[in-house]
């Protein structure tokens, strides 16, 4: 192994062992798979051994009856080979599939019970989507690596024993050759695979990035005549990929050649030892055929091992990612959500209020992005939070919802700290609808029932109409029973936002936290929606919404402006990572009513003036209707 790969290797092995334990393989089933596999491949060896014996014996022209056992066994082995192979494939896949099911379930329950911040963070970058493929790769280990290895061991041993019965010396040669092919050639292949994986990953990532740029900015690149530059970059990357693939092919070639060379050595060895033994009379003439022919079939077992080695490398990498995910979600330090929720009787505040005092927030391990935030929310109150993108609005929402641990200060939901609290308990009071909240691959109704399990179809329809989805609902083939797919083929950006909104409104929680509810809507629709939502807060609900549009904020009881000193509101540039003037935590730079801020804060007034007036000609379908009171007060 190269020095670079060595530490990763140990880590991979540890991760693999751990994942294998989580697969919770059914031992009986696995043993059956190995048995069937061994019987299948063993049949191939037995077939050639029996055929060799049959032919050699037949040449001595014995009575035909002497051959009947051999004839029957040859035919039987001809059939059993395929039969057992079929059974083995079924058994091994069955074991792997149930193992993968167990691993998935374990992963889900660990993530569900684990640190909320880990899960919320994972959604970004679609780590979870990749996890599906990783679980499959770990499962493939059983079918494509472990089983072939076990079968090879059994059949190899069996072949050696078979030869040893006739000629022990030849058995020693066979054993040595099998070991050489069975250990050295997979080792070489694994090395090549690992090298390729490490070297190719970077090049592939670069290739994807360049291809993406080409496709995304095709027009611009064409106009500026830079297409050729990028295509040349793709060609260069491809050339480097070719060099890497070529380098990785060398050990793979050695591995393949080695297996055949070992087979040759075993056959030649058997002849060199067997012929004198036959001449000397220590080996029966008929048995010489068996001793010489068995190696021809035995090496079919070792020929499966290089592919198994490649799978081992692949599964190892996947296992590392899976265990890393499990570790990230381990509820270390925090009381596990699985433990009974603490202090049910403790209610030092009204049960339906959300309060924050001097809260600082940030992702674990990252910088504090926002500090010193005080918010008070109770039914009947509507608060808006505005600020440049990247200032920490979403982080604040996650902290208030108890999904991130506050870095300083305190959050109280119904008088209790939500962070260590059971999620189900927190959500009786506060629910959050994130900007990237998930639309599940199920029916519209089931998607709404995510908020509350007993939503009736009528309630669902009312909520959808209220969220401005009436015409959309009318166009669905099966109404609320229509299945939604997660890709955007059935749901547009704006429709998705409204669907999430309907879901939030159906939740029984009295306090709603909404992240950019009007994103993807045009100006007029956005303002109408935000106004509606803020009006909702006048009923028996409290609403806190994060937005980047100011026009409709007149309906809010209070507007919090987040930012750094000296920042202007609309400056969406200057990501804090570059260490620009925006470095350091943001804070509440101003708060008050909309009218108050317009009068007092020039930057606020300027940003407001830049917005579309909202007098935009949009289709009638795009404008949400005013939420009817029955939905606003729909709680239980």
């Amino acid at each position: 192994m190269t020095a670079v790969a060595a530490p990763g290797l140990r880590e991979q092995h540890r991760a693999l062992v751990r994942c294998l334990r989580l697969l919770d393989l059914r031992r009986g089933r696995l043993a059956w798979a190995v048995t069937a596999g061994s019987l299948g491949l063993g049949s191939a060896v037995a077939l050639i051994a029996a055929s060799g014996w049959l032919i050699a014996r037949a040449s001595q022209m014995p009575p035909v009856l002497d051959l009947s056992v051999a004839v029957v066994s040859v035919r039987a082995f001809g059939i059993s080979r395929a039969l057992f192979r079929y059974l083995e494939r079924l058994a091994s896949h069955d074991v792997a599939l149930s193992g993968m099911g167990a691993l998935r379930e374990r992963l889900y329950s660990t993530l569900a019970a684990g640190r909320a911040d880990a899960v919320v963070g994972l959604r970004r970058g679609d780590v979870l989507t990749r996890t599906g493929a990783d679980v499959d790769a770990v499962g493939d280990l059983v079918v494509r690596a472990l089983l072939p290895a076990a079968v090879t061991a059994v059949v190899g041993l069996g072949s050696v024993v078979l030869v040893a019965v006739f000629l022990p010396a030849a058995a020693v040669v066979l054993a040595a050759c099998l070991l050489g092919a069975g250990v050295l050639s997979p080792w070489l292949t694994a090395r090549a695979a690992r090298r390729a994986e490490v070297a190719l990953a970077d090049e592939r990532a670069e290739l994807s990035a360049t291809a993406l740029t080409l496709v995304d900015s095709a027009g611009e690149l064409q106009v500026s005549g830079r297409t050729t530059t990028l295509l040349a970059a793709v060609s260069r990357t491809d050339a480097r990929l070719a060099v890497q693939a070529d380098r990785a092919a060398r050990p793979a070639a050695w591995a393949a050649a080695l297996n055949l060379a070992a087979m040759g050595a075993a056959v030649v060895g058997a002849l060199l030892l067997g012929v004198p033994a036959t001449t000397a009379g220590t080996l029966a003439a008929v048995e010489l055929a068996v001793v010489v022919l068995v190696p021809l079939a035995a090496f079919e077992a070792t020929s499966m091992l290089p592919a198994a080695a490649v799978q081992l490398v692949r599964s190892g990498a996947a296992a590392v990612r899976v265990t890393a995910l499990l570790d990230a979600a381990q509820p270390d330090g925090t009381p596990s959500a699985g433990s009974p929720s603490v202090g049910v009787a403790e209610t030092s505040g009204a049960p339906s209020t959300l309060g924050a005092r001097g809260v600082a927030c940030g992702w674990p391990g990252g910088p504090v992005v926002l500090e010193g935030v005080d918010v008070e929310l109770r039914p009947g109150r509507a608060v808006a939070v505005v600020g440049a993108s990247g200032v920490g609005k979403t982080t604040l929402l996650l902290t208030l919802a108890g999904l991130l641990e506050p870095r300083a200060g305190s959050v109280r939901v119904g008088g209790r700290d939500p962070w260590p609290l059971d999620r189900a308990t927190v959500s009786e009071t506060v629910v959050l609808t994130a900007e990237d909240a998930h639309v599940f691959d199920t029916t519209v109704l089931e998607n709404l029932r995510v908020a509350r399990g007993d939503v009736t179809p009528d309630e669902a329809r009312a909520a959808l109409v209220a969220a401005g989805l009436g015409p959309w609902l009318a166009g669905l083939p099966d109404g609320v029973e229509t299945r939604l797919s997660t890709d955007a083929t059935t749901v547009s950006g704006g429709e998705r936002r409204r669907l999430l909104l309907a879901r939030a409104l159906l939740s029984p929680a009295p306090v709603l936290l909404l992240d950019e509810p009007a994103e993807h809507l045009d100006a007029a629709a956005a303002d109408a929606l935000v106004t509606d939502l803020l009006e909702t807060g006048r009923g028996d609900r409290g609403v806190l919404l994060v937005t980047h549009r100011l026009s409709a904020l007149g309906a809010a009881d209070e507007v919090l402006v987040l930012g750094h000193d000296g920042d202007s509101l609309a400056d969406a540039d200057a990501p804090p990572a570059t260490g620009g003037p925006g470095a350091g935590p943001a804070r509440v730079v101003a708060r008050g009513t909309h009218a108050d801020l317009v009068a007092r804060l020039p930057a606020y007034a300027w940003a407001l003036a830049q917005e579309d007036t909202g007098v935009v000609d949009v289709g009638p379908s795009a404008r949400p209707t005013v939420l009817p009171p029955d939905v606003r007060t729909d709680q239980r």
Binding site: I55, G78, V120, T213, L272, S427, G619
Partner: protein, 546 residues
Amino acid sequence: MLLTAGLGLATAVVVIAQAWLLGNATAPVVEGRATLADVLPLVGGLAVAFGLRALLVGVQERYAHRAATRVVAELRIGVLEKAVGLGPRWLAEGNAASTTTLVTRGLDSLEPYFVRYLPQLLLAVTVTPVVLLVIAGLDLLAAGTILFTLPLIPVFMILVGRLTQRYADERLVVMQRLGTQLLDLLAGLATLKALGRERGPGRRVRELGEAYRRTTMQTLRVAFLSGAILELLATLSVALVAVGIGLRLVFGELDLTTGLVVLVLAPEAYLPLRQVGAHFHASADGVAAAQEAFGVLEEDEQPRGRVPAPDLRTSTVSFEGVGVRAPGRDRWAPADLSGTVRPGRVVALAGPSGAGKSTAAAVLLGLVRPDRGRVVVRPASGAGVDLAEIDPRTWWDQVAWVPQRPALLPASVLANVLGADAPAGAVDEQVRRAATLTGFDEVVASLPQGWATPLGHGGVGLSVGQRQRLALTRALLGSQQLVLLDEPTAHLDAASEARVADAVRTLARAGRTVLVVAHRRAVLDLADDVLDVVPLDQAEPSAVTA
């Protein structure tokens, strides 16, 4: 490919030599006619044959992938080139994602096709017939058995495949659906947590996993059948050949040497076919990827104009009733745009968001053909030319475009501003001045290595506003007559916006024509002329505009 074919033939020869040597070295000893000394040359030959076969396999493994890598690289470039040529509209029609997937992952499945499947297919048409011929020369009856069973393999495989196809397809759909749902629950975990409902689906994950296993097993039971048939026919045939030889040996119809040679050769006749079956899936994926690639390559490109573009310093460019239908919707954006862009003037395309301002700009760039109306370029003297007839290269040479999300090339900041052939090192005064004017100097100052900072993949990313300032700097430094700015201030605050306005003024002072897409007052105030872009929600625009 030639290499693979040559290797195939060589393999056939070696396989036959190997069997012949093995038979001739063993049989006389079994019959008690020879000692080690007699057969030693044959054993030596056998060792050489095995060595050669190992060498052939090694060479195949070592070099077979080269052709594959070459083909994949060629297809990749071809597809990308074509996709770019087909233009933003084709890409926007849902082709962007599939193209990216095809060129990054899809085409890679061609490699197993070339490296595994094709060589085995070649062996099946070289080794199998040659081996069969040799067997026929030795023992006609055995050859007959093999010849009879060989065609049964594809026939049975196709038959079983046909019979089970529909069942398997149905199961496959269910299987994929269950698989997606499982992933979906994992992907939605954050949302479930936000709503406090993450506990319930735990059981659902188990049920889905169990259902997935059951359905998959149902599919596999059927899917593995064709493989089993292949295996059964191949091994059973070998067994039948062996029994046949044995029985004829008893009656002295055959000698042992021939019997052994045929016994060793028989499996070799089936081996390539079995391998073809084993790599069948690799072939299916590879063929699918290749078909997809050729589908893109055969896509019809709009014919490009051939007339050289008139000199934009003296020509006017007019929209004449330009309408573009929004893909898949009854909406025209723009609906009926008319207006003229005169040289040296600052012209604004104004209108609410979604009105089709950017689309109008794309029409002017020649990237989108209008569904209605046309863009005409009129030189100072002479007849006007429809933009569709103009050679795009000569047109684009005179146009600089700052889109809403300018692309970053994987190169240094300076190379991104000046082009790939930018001299490394010193940044000249002109570049500095342009950067100061657009405010890009502040961006450069915040970067770790200033102008030499690598951008793009593996380098530093820039925000959209920063990219726009970069592209504006590039436009300022260029010499194109027409500069098209798409919402250059959408991501900027008041101070930065003022700078962009200064840059536009500088461009105008230099006599360049500026077409700016904007809805903010500060930018609209700069314009000499304003073209109002109006959309229309209707299937046909003529009804209203007539």
